[in-house]
């Protein structure tokens, strides 16, 4: 899907504040985002810091987004368990799913986490959806409904090549 459509779908659902650590999965999407005057992006130093920053959006009445590579999901374990899931503070996690499908796809450092990424979210009971080229509106509506209903973070898993 086109990166412009991706951001338009998020903005259309009220999301315009993001923080994160870049991933090549979102290379094109990143360039569109930082040139969009309607999106505020804070380039965080770590994924947990990005989640802390984006969680503040909840208190001003909105919903913040976090952009990260799945290698950084481990850095979210403490803030998820002792902050977001405990206080019930929602956020949308947009996760680049590196190492999807395991070897020989992607680089070796992504193989193990690539295979374990959904299990991580299952373990923490964080809902997730997998973005496909043709299901953007449907998965966003579903995920955001769950996020708002349960007032907790939810993750959108994005494989390489889905957004261009």
């Amino acid at each position: 899907m086109d990166a412009h459509d991706f951001w338009a779908a998020l903005k259309g659902r009220g999301l315009n504040f993001f923080s994160g650590v870049p991933d090549s999965t979102f290379h094109d999407a990143y360039n569109v985002m930082v040139n969009d005057p309607d999106i505020r992006y804070v380039p965080a130093v770590r994924e947990d810091v990005a989640l802390g920053i984006a969680s503040a959006t909840f208190f001003t009445g909105g919903l913040g987004g976090v952009i990260l590579q799945n290698s950084g999901v481990g850095n979210l374990v403490n803030p998820l368990t002792s902050f977001n899931l405990m206080y019930k503070i929602p956020a949308l996690l947009i996760v680049g799913w590196r190492g999807y499908g395991g070897p020989p796809n992607d680089a070796p450092e992504h193989w193990i986490m690539g295979a374990k990424t959904p299990e991580f979210f299952n373990l923490l009971e964080v809902p997730y959806e997998i973005l496909e080229p043709d299901n953007l509106d449907a998965v966003l509506d579903l995920l955001l409904e769950t996020i708002k209903e349960r007032s907790i973070p939810g993750a959108l898993l994005v494989r390489s090549g889905v957004i261009s």
């Binding site: 130093v45 947990d48 810091v49 920053i53 503040a56 208190f59 001003t60 009445g61 902050f83 503070i89």
Partner: protein, 189 residues
Amino acid sequence: MIARYQAIESILAHVGSGDLVISTTGMISRELFTLKDRPGNFYMIGSMGLASAMGLGLALQAPNKRVFVLEGDGSAMMSLGTLPLIASEQPANLVHIILDNEAYESTGGQPSISSNFDLAQTANTTGYPWTRRVEDLEELEAALTEATNGGQLSLILVKAGIAPLEGIPRVSHTPEEIRDRFKGAVQAV
């Protein structure tokens, strides 16, 4: 050296009724809660190191509110990379206060490594436009007056002693109560 609860008392005298305070996990939140519980306090009772990140996000998105971040040396060092990030974003409404007792007091007073360097100097190096290191209550008072009137991002490093308060209670509100009343305080005009 300043006893930490005395430092928090002094800070509270400079916190206006509409101001927001985010306090880090452990004794700092418990002391803040005990000295002056208020809806505008967010006691971050878990997630060590995250208070400054949330403070940054809040300061950027609620620019009409003054945001105080109260954390310890252990918390600041755990998320040291947040210092240059805050300095890069430079929210003028953020007052960042590090209560530095050179120890992990909440877990029994184990020494930290903050005795080996100056966190105010570190913040200054990362681009904080205004930093102070204070070692007594008079200096703290002067620094708070300047920080809250300066109209720019500020950081105060308070060199504090280890002075545990016997029998200090835990925060008695549920996490969701803390969240809801803080949300109300953020959105109050």
